[in-house]
Amino acid sequence: MVVFVAKKSEFQNGDRRIVKSARGEIGVFHHEGAFYAYANTCLHSGGPACEGLLMPKVVDIIAQDLTYQGQDFDENEMHFVCPWHGWEYDIKTGQSIGDRRQYLRKYEVVERDGDVFVID
């Protein structure tokens, strides 16, 4: 099943859409020029996983002498966060950060004639 998401011209970098599909809602992200789509149901307690903030991974800064030097954001690893409880997912893989054995269901995104679709 092919599900329409948006005209590409109306789906800017940094935007997202939630689309209804046969198996439930799907969250589609336009992030750094690429599209990613995941089931909009958190693996934790079923919350709207794709409807929260985007936040880069937080890292501890550990110096060469193994001392702690504070925290920073790692802009190379963007997470989207379920707004119900804060479960974080890697936007490029759908991997759950709090339990890396788990992944959100991922959907393929295709572009045709200026339109963006997900394949369910």
């Binding site: 599900v3 329409f4 998401v5 948006a6 935007d15 997202r16 859409r17 939630i18 689309v19 209804k20 599909s21 149901t41 307690s45 079923g46 919350g47 709207p48 794709c50 409807e51 929260g52 903030l53 936040m55 966060v81 707004p83 119900w84 409880h85 804060g86 974080e88």
Partner: protein, 408 residues
């Protein structure tokens, strides 16, 4: 509708400039329909509102004119009250829990108090029939350095809650705040408020430094026992506590703090023989999860067998008294291996003593599904924990009264 318009109708954007309790919980409503929550009673024994949003109303109930003047004056500058202090912490995980900062956009209409409207919205969205409502910032009031401020706020808040919320909405109930740092005022509040509509017991906020076995409290425990009203201990942390100051992240102070004070109070409660002195007093432990009880039962039993002389009032092992108390579920630990949780349920006699709680709208709230979806419970056990046990405890009509919204 042309094909493009039809396709577009299945698509929506994510907004960060609007909010509704019902809308944000649509997926909870889907769960409520799928699991047929309409068929049975669900009671939430621990939920919250933000009483700080109503300080201007509450402060008017402060009886002492000097304290009332201080409170109203402090609240007139931006709605925050410097008189009450605050707690260090970042419960919303740096804004990731979006309802905490979006909820100001929620629209309510009509003469009904906003807290009633928004509370009923989330209750119905989850499938909850009755919710026991507690304050939020006041959970930390037990560490306020001025005892008279705790007393003044307790009486003002309880009066306001009774008159503004409980008398108007039968589905919202409460266990009222006890200013435990003043034993006489604590006793007086039970006498004054114990018969008010919607009052189902009384609540002590756990972070505080007066021991529960102090003789000054005995007449209050006796009064509660005579009135048939439970006493509950609601967990919270105190990051200024000397031990908890050693933690440097909220996850640390929260994980430990929400167990720590209840573990201390429970230990004192049992080893001082209070269950023998007040055998009919119902005691409830709120928002510490369950693993602490599983652990403490074993720790106390182990030592008791060697040190009965430390607690000569006891006629049975500590765990046997603890197993007769009530425990609220949230934040319920969900180990990867469910048999570990099953053992915990067995340890605390969950069938009759466990009562479900959401803690909504706080950051780590639970849905009824944390109980309903457990693989080792039968349907009757699920219904007991989700509502029937609390209905007995609070003397509630077991007929469901919720109105779960239809799905679009």
């Amino acid at each position: 509708m042309n094909d493009y318009a039809k396709a577009k109708s299945n698509v929506r954007e994510v907004r960060f400039d609007e909010f509704s309790s019902s809308g944000s919980l649509i997926k909870a409503t889907e769960q409520a329909h799928k699991r047929n929550y309409k068929d049975f009673l669900i009671v939430d024994v621990d939920s919250h509102h933000y009483e700080s949003e109503s300080y201007n109303e509450i402060f008017k109930y402060i009886e002492n004119p000097v304290i009332r003047r201080q409170a109203l004056e402090s609240a007139s500058r931006g709605g925050r009250s410097s008189m009450l202090g605050g707690s260090v912490g970042y419960q919303d995980i740096g804004g990731r829990i979006t309802r905490h900062w979006l909820r100001k956009h929620e629209k309510t209409e009509g003469p009904q108090h906003r807290d009633i409207t928004t509370t009923l919205r989330w209750m119905d969205a989850m499938g909850v029939d009755y919710a026991c409502l507690f304050p939020t910032p006041m959970l930390f009031l037990g560490t306020h350095p001025q005892v008279e401020i705790e007393v003044a706020m307790a009486r003002a808040y309880n009066s306001w809650l009774c008159e503004t919320i409980l008398e108007h909405e039968p589905r919202i109930i409460s266990m009222l705040y006890l200013p435990f740092n003043d034993p006489e005022a604590t006793y007086q509040i039970v006498k004054d408020f114990g018969h008010r509509k919607g009052v189902k017991g009384f609540m002590v906020t756990a972070p505080r430094y007066k021991p529960v076995h102090d003789n000054a409290y005995m007449k209050t425990y006796r009064l509660l026992e005579e009135m048939g009203l439970p006493i509950s201990f609601h967990a919270a942390y105190n990051w200024n506590d000397q031990s908890l100051q050693l933690t440097n992240r909220f996850i640390g102070v929260h994980a430990l703090g929400f167990m720590w004070f209840n573990m201390v109070h429970m230990t004192n409660w049992v080893v001082n023989g209070l269950p023998e002195r007040f055998p009919k007093l119902k005691v409830m432990w709120i928002e510490s999860g369950l693993t602490w009880a599983y652990s403490l039962m074993q720790r106390l039993d182990h030592s008791y067998k060697m040190r009965t002389s430390d607690c000569p009032s006891l006629k049975r092992k500590p765990s046997e008294y603890m197993r007769e108390m009530y425990f609220s579920t949230q934040p319920m630990e969900l180990p990867d291996d469910p048999t570990i949780l099953e053992a915990t349920f067995k340890m605390i006699n969950a069938e009759t003593q466990l009562v479900w709680s959401s803690d909504y709208p706080h950051w780590d709230f639970d849905l009824p599904g944390v109980i309903y979806d457990l693989p080792f419970l039968n349907e009757q056990s699920k219904r007991n924990i989700l509502g029937a046990n609390a209905a007995k405890l609070f003397n509630l009509d077991p007929q469901p009264v919720k109105k779960i919204p239809p799905l679009a």
